[in-house]
Each structure stands twice: as structure tokens, then as C-alpha cells.
Symmetry: C2
Subunit: 286 residues, 2 copies
Amino acid sequence: MGLPMARNLIKAGFHVVGVDISQQALNAFAAAGGVVASTPAEAIHCADTVLIVVVDADQTEAVLFGNDGIASALAPSKLVIASATMAPSRVAAVADRLAQRKIQLLDAPISGGIRGAAAGALTVMVAGPDDAYAKAEPILRALAARVFHIGKQPGQASTVKLINQLLCGIHLAATAEAVALAERAGVPLQVLYDIISASSGTSRIFEDRAPDMWSVNPPKKAAVDIFVKDLGLVLELARTTQIGLTLTPAAHQVFEAAADAGLGRSSDSEIVQVYRQSTTRPDTTT
Amino acid sequence: MGLPMARNLIKAGFHVVGVDISQQALNAFAAAGGVVASTPAEAIHCADTVLIVVVDADQTEAVLFGNDGIASALAPSKLVIASATMAPSRVAAVADRLAQRKIQLLDAPISGGIRGAAAGALTVMVAGPDDAYAKAEPILRALAARVFHIGKQPGQASTVKLINQLLCGIHLAATAEAVALAERAGVPLQVLYDIISASSGTSRIFEDRAPDMWSVNPPKKAAVDIFVKDLGLVLELARTTQIGLTLTPAAHQVFEAAADAGLGRSSDSEIVQVYRQSTTRPDTTT
């Protein structure tokens, strides 16, 4: 995810210094014209803005406050943009910790995945102070097709991102149920796809993921574990706001069942296996 | 639903004789140039093709085989097109019963709702013999923007329609969870709409129904009871094909809870009330 975003920044004329734990990603980044650093602390020497594109809050905090972390080395007035999907309360806590060092944080989660990043077709949701947003805007517009400044409080953008993940996770499980039921009922899958895509039941996830569920060699997309994590964060937000949800915990269960079956690092569309393996006796209700 | 479809047929030059239990619908139909009959049996005197647009299998069977039913009066070689959402096995049984009188049935459920019907933007899924399909095709193309001939066995199209309803029902409940959670978390709803519509979490249902959930006076759409029925049919199909589903029964519960709360005849987007009224203690998991 970080690599295609870095490529877009280089194309837009930014000087980009990059760090990654994957040597393969660094090689590709260098080939695209990026400057490779070996630690986050080394990468920020001449940086005005730090963009952290990692998986979760733990990794974000490790980049900022861990060994080789950058927070202690960042000059005040620098800007940090955090793009991992995190609990809103956790983003707010990171912002507070950085504020003690006079460093501003933009809460800037992203929707669109690796393919969206490669195509410059991402959507980025941003929350943070107006001056920080103004400073980051040229960078964000080089990365994403759509940039939304939601509000001034870090955490507000992560809240919207979690609601997007709620919908994606449910839509993925719904797509898997639709595909598996169609298979059992003998519906030709391409016919199903053509009809649903033109009907009220369609979703962006259905259109993108349903064909992966019957492809022999589907492209690698987000992992099952991502949705175990993200739907867990949605459920945490639901508890905090004291609302009882029904489909979100059901979808979370489906992803957990897939992870328990050894599919945690497989693409999220592999959750269809959970349904393919399911059997009920004809006399029981589901 | 029948009225805008009849209007489109009249516009396309067909001679249309109509029956409805609503006098208001009949008045509007007559104003559009339709010929009003008082019973189904009266309507079929000079009809080559009978199009039955009712809510369910019971109503379809009543039109065909009930008092004033038309099956006994229909000459062999006439064609019946049945568009209600029904269990595939029930459609097959109706086809068998009509076949004893040498009458052909096309299984032709529709997606797109009243607004789609008015705009001529429906999708129709069709299953039935090739010669019956060929005869019906000009009629179907006058009604719908997209016509899919799925197969020769009545019931095959209803299976695909049920899978569409599975997705719509889940997407409606997912949209309600997203909207209710956004309200609790203080996300401005128009901002939520603009971002989700441009992100991976979007669906046709979200784009159409989410604004209804916070509108003061939303347009009337399909009723909550329709999804209680249709998701019930999906669960019946799942039992028949011995597959265990997770989200479909959860969505069915949400619609049943809304119906139990007196919202059965309200628009389906009113299921958001179930979530708005929900409270959990902060120390419990949802």
C-alpha cells in the first residue's frame, strides 16, 4: 500500500524518503526514484512531513514512540500524517502525545486498497487542525482522487473509516453468502454476476470481490486478518457509544471462523470457503 | 409497481387491459390509456399474454387458480409471466399446474422497485422455455432496461432474485447499522454519505436508502414486511440446499424486530429505528 502511494508522490514531484521492513518494497521504491533510509529516524532528517502507512495502531505507535521511533527526533512544527485504521480514541491519544512535543497529527485513513493506490484512485478522510490540513493538502491530493476534511479533532476521520470497514466487512460476508448459495442452487456464477451488478443488490465489494471467489488464481487483496481486526475495532466503538449491532458481530464471526480455519493471511474473499464447507441437515433451521 | 410498468407498455404501443384491487391505481391506469377490467377473468378475453405483478406466491396462485382465477379460462398456447418474488420450488409447481392446461409460464422476477419501474430502469430475470421467452421478449424489453434469460426451468430466475434479495436485505441492515453508529459517534450524516459513496463501503442500497434514514419525509419505498417475507424465502432456500448462512438470519431478525415494533408497513429504511432505540451497557459486549 505504501509503495504505490510513494510512487504517486514521486510522480507529483515530491522528494520522498522511504522506510519499509520489506527489502523487496524498498528495491521497487528505489527503482521508482525514491530515497531509501534504513530506519524511521534516518528518514526524517530533511522531512517536513511524515506519512505513516502501516497496518494498525501498534505499528503506528512503534514508528513514533518505539526503539528507533521518530517522535523524539522530530523538530516541533513538523507534521505527522497517520493512515492506519485505528480506534478513534487511540488516534486522539497519539495526537495528545505528539502535541506535548508541539508536533501536529493528521488522522488520515484511506479507502481504496492497493489497486486504488496504484491507480491514484484512493479516498482519504482527514481530521486535524486547519493549518495542518492546509499544509498536507498538496500531498494528499497527489495520493488520492478524493480528499475529505471532516473536522479538527483527530479521531473523527478514523470513526468514518471504521464505518466504511463495517460496511465492507458485512458486504464481503454477504457476497460470500450470495456466491455460496448460488453455487449450491446451481446458478451459473457469471450469470449471477451480470444480473446482480445490474440490480439493487450490488455493492462495490460485490463487483470487485465476487469474481475472486470463483477465480482459479485471484489477485491478492486485503487479508482476512485485516477484517478480524477492523470489525473488532467497530465493535469496540459500538460498545463505547452503547449501541447494539447485529450484522457487524455476525460478520466478525465469519472472518474469525476463516482465520481459525487457517485463512488469516489469505485474501478476504477466501471467507467464501467457510460457507462452501458448511452443511446443515435438511430438517434444521439455519 | 404494476402501474408504472403498465404505463411503459402503453407507451410502447401495447394494448393493455388491467386489474387491480386499488381503485386509485385503476383510475391512474385508465388516465394513462389503459383498459380497466373488473376481474382477472374479464381482463384476459383478448389477451395473448398475462403479466402478474403481485406481492407473493399466494397472490399469484389466487390470480391463476382462485375464485375468478384465470387458469381455467385461459386458452392453451397463452403465456403467463409471473413477477412476484416466490420460492423457486413454488414457481416450478405453478408451472407444472399450468402445463397440464398447455399454458406456458415464464418465471420473471424484477429488480428496481417502483422508481425503477417508473423510469423504465428495471432489471428482469427470466426462466422458461425458449419459445415462451421469444414471445415475451418485446414486452419485457418495453418494461425493463435489462432482460436476462437465465435458463429454461421456471424457478431458476426466482433463485437469482432471492440471491439479490439476500444482498439487498443485508445491505439495508448494514446501512442502518452504519447510519445509527455514525449518529451515536457524532459523525455529520451528509459527510458520511459523501465519503462512503466514494469509498469501498458503498452499495446501491446505501446510496439510495441512507439519506431516507435521516430525511424528515422520505419517499415511500418497499415495506419492511417485504424483507421479512423475502429473507424468509432465502432461509428456506438455504435449508433446502443445506447451507448454513450467518448474515441472512441476522438481517431477517432485524426486519422481524422492526415489524414487531409496528413498522411492518413502513418503508424498509425505517429499520434504522431498531438501532436508534438500542442501548447496551458500556460494560457488556454487543
